[in-house]
Symmetry: D2
Subunit: 318 residues, 4 copies
């Protein structure tokens, strides 16, 4: 599924995974109940929107806040709804290597295409420990792996040399960087030219345009949950080198970022704003956010409604 020509687990892919792969929110009724109908609606919305893959249980998917039972359920349901239409990537980040491997097993059993792993995030590792950890983990995984750089939550960043060392294994097929540090991203991209099949994907949607213009393969952009066509449009414009269109779409992307993700004072504003907007757009029913976070109250919800109303009208008509 990752490439058209070959099943990814069976052989080295000819070309890296490319395009917009939204990090799906996890629609919830409460801390213990997945909202299956909303998940179906969300996945159909994304596929109709032209995205190039599905990434579940990432930071946007609140993986760490979910019980293991629910993580398993989310993998099974997403795979079933997807029906192999798009590459399915499953985040298996955990502080316990045993639980990571177990989750990867579930993903493989459900027919997922790859797993995504951020470093253990409790007790921060040094770089040699980090490399050694992945040298231990990767061979035990039944699926190809994307590394996931997320220093604000994980406290450690993959040094470019560490990425290169871990990617000595051909099972490691790509890198998602959510650091927002564009100098760092350029350094890793430069380092990884040695692996032309290695996908360089960027987390923050505000910089997907510029990263793709410089050679990145795509974006894992939370906003694509709401407006998949917008982010796919940005990806297409950037790969086509259409700078006028890139700058035009960038206006809307940064408008979304600065109005929908900034209501509320804490780091969780992004997550609350995104889920709130998705419920206002009718894509998910409830904007329940798993503990330790809590969905917006009426005043914040009203601000999100206004922020949506201020967006270009074409966007909000599905």
């Amino acid at each position: 599924m990752i490439t058209n020509e070959s099943q990814m687990p069976a052989g080295r892919p000819r070309s890296p995974l490319s395009g917009i792969i939204p990090p799906l929110v996890t629609p919830l009724k409460d801390n213990e109940t997945l909202d299956v109908a909303s998940l179906e609606r969300l996945i159909e919305h994304l596929i109709a929107g032209g995205v190039h893959g599905l990434f579940i249980l990432g930071t946007t998917g609140e993986e760490q806040s979910l019980s293991y039972g629910m993580r398993k359920q989310m993998i099974e349901l997403s795979a079933r709804i997807n029906r192999g239409r798009l590459p399915l990537l499953v985040c298996i980040s955990d502080t316990s290597i045993v639980e990571s491997i177990r989750l990867a097993g579930v993903a493989a059993d459900c027919g997922a295409d790859a797993v995504v792993s951020a470093p253990p995030y409790y007790f921060a590792t040094g770089q040699p420990e980090l490399a050694q950890f992945y040298e231990e983990l990767v061979p035990q995984l039944p699926l190809p792996v994307f590394l996931y750089n997320m220093p604000s939550h994980v406290k450690v960043s993959f040094a470019p040399d560490t990425v290169s060392r871990i990617a000595q294994s051909e099972r490691v097929i790509g890198f998602k960087d959510s650091s927002a540090n564009a100098v760092y991203f350029q350094s890793v991209m430069y380092r990884m030219q040695e692996r032309p099949d290695f996908a360089m994907l960027v987390g923050p949607e505000e910089i997907t345009g510029e990263c793709v213009l410089l050679g990145a393969h795509g974006g894992i952009n939370g906003g694509a949950n709401m407006f998949p066509r917008l982010y796919v449009g940005m990806y297409d414009a950037a790969t086509a080198g259409d700078l006028t269109r890139v700058r035009q779409l960038q206006q809307t992307i940064v408008q979304i970022s600065t109005t929908i993700y900034t209501v509320g004072r804490h780091g969780s504003a992004y997550l609350k704003g995104l889920k709130c907007a998705l419920s206002l757009l009718g894509i998910i029913d409830d904007d329940f956010v798993a503990s330790p976070f809590y969905k917006f109250n009426a005043p914040e919800r009203e601000k999100i409604r206004q922020a949506l109303a201020a967006l270009p009208t074409a966007l909000c008509r599905p």
Copy 2:
């Protein structure tokens, strides 16, 4: 067990938990196998050493690196070996509230006396979110709770006002601070005078003496795994106001800290050094450290051996 007079779950304890409560290392054979014989030896060693409680699955106990199955097993075995001789505290820190509650249930079923909880450690909360989280969590726990401040790993520190707000619930019976920030500890201790039954416990063994001299109730000190009498001696000297003895024992405690916990360049040096020393002392068999960390190789092990040999001889004769 927390107080002599009453079962803690049944009523508000008359006096706070006091003394030295070692954060037990988790003896391992590999990532999936607990070393039961070593755990027995360790617990007997600690009880014989006069400690005042047992704290399992903390940072020193590598909770986050262990699978859920092993966490459960560690609770069951520790409770069985302890046979109610000492108060048993179980760390239930997790990023998922559901898993935290589940672990607390296991602890209660096994007869533990209290649980210990650090904030969710992936996506950092703001202070109001943190308070709200505990207001949701605490009533769902079957045991009294100690809050656990560990900002270096958790990225967020309980503001003194947040501790006070959470401790409006009488189910919250104490606080363990591992920040090493003594100004902060004094601020929380000052704030919590409103709750004379509230235990103020300090993590870093290097400052247990001074904190107890100023009114803290005790220490959750990793070094007590090796030398319980030393840390109990420090606690006794401090509660007796014997400054000469406090300063004398402090010499050895800082010697341990600066020689045994500082071999190796990364933050994990503490954990590796402690387990290595325990195996050299014959208290645990193997010094296996769970992924993403790895036990010392021969050169580092030799340094630990020398560091042990340089300690006052009385210490190392069990």
Copy 3:
């Protein structure tokens, strides 16, 4: 000088300062002696290389390490050598507002075109204090002002709203961002569209290409001290929308960054590597670095020599 049509101090410029404005190193013989001949050679090298302005006394220029007497001398000499050929920007960052104003006075007396100011960098301010500080500072300055964002050294970052608030004054004509956080840069650029005359300049040379492609006005790139044509070429390619050329030049720019700025283990590696390379290239005589830093010894110097030798040959032939 900032625009072709008008003297900047006399009226609001029609268009923002654009292009490559190198942050000049300060050639030194020792902590108290400026190397005037090297400074002349450097400025002529830059002008011949086609740069669009000169920026002195920035982080690359070691402003903070220089005595006030030497800062004054550096301004006077640079202005005299420049002879008005290029816009001259002078960094006046200081922890004391009085000294900042004094330095700006020197800059104005010498005919500089603008000053550049990072926030006071000892005791970090909150955002309202930061805005209030600039509302106090800007009216006392005899020249237009660029704000300089440098959170790694300054500990505080201008919030986009703070930039906008400070830029209510038309005397504030641009922004240099050295955060490397491209999401942040996009947010500020989006916010400042309200001021079409406001220059958005980026510090790290590794991302000048992508930022200019997205609408930034130019780069204040340290590497331009060595190879002005390379960075001017990148600027030209990006403004022309020549993506093939952008990606090609990017290769060399990241090669420089990852080989010349990474010898040595500390943050100062950039500064030492840059000065060392400049002396090897014959642009400055000695690579003396002011205290608290120290120039490379022979082994590191040899690595820089090799890194230079590995660059495309066209680059190193002036």
Copy 4:
């Protein structure tokens, strides 16, 4: 003046500087005008209060916010008012080694007893660079030196080994730690036992009691500007081992800290609160704070007034 028996510059002192050495606020009329009458009143108040030394131009003295002219004036006036009654310590921290040396020269000319130096605080050094810097600086200083650890403002902390390496020079006679990290302080104190003449002084007043109980020599406590007898009382109680008195005084010290230093949201709350309280107590006339900070407005001032009124009455009657 540092010891009774000998002039410090002339020979190695027999015993380390001990006791309470307040870091004086700098009374100001505006950014360019020292309030001489207030300074006289402050110094007389401190000497009458029994303090053991005077420390000027530290963080509390707003050194970095003052022009060089005013720093010079502050040294001259303080020395003249002091008339050799107490050891006078002058902070010379600067980002420029040349300016540090110049300031030390002024201090020596005015008869100060020692200088105090925090690391350069713009471009953070690595530990070897830090050691090398002091090996260059110390021999050029005409007075003995105290090292000043202030990582929150300086971004770098002296490693214990670095302190020891720098203190190979007998000109380095003590250490002031403002990190609030008590584990760190114990590590440095342990390391520096090799130098019995080396003064270990602690910045935060909330932990002076416990540090002195464990062997520290005294405190450089900002609150002593207001209530010198309180902090001298704490020092005396701790050196006498009077734990009852220590805990009693600690109540008031933490009350001051949590009510007077916490009005206002930013890091500057300490400075603003301290100066505001001093003006309310009549010790200084105006509570002007140098840019980039600004004194409290009426509502905050009222809170400080109430905080003072809530203190034990004996304190506020001089």
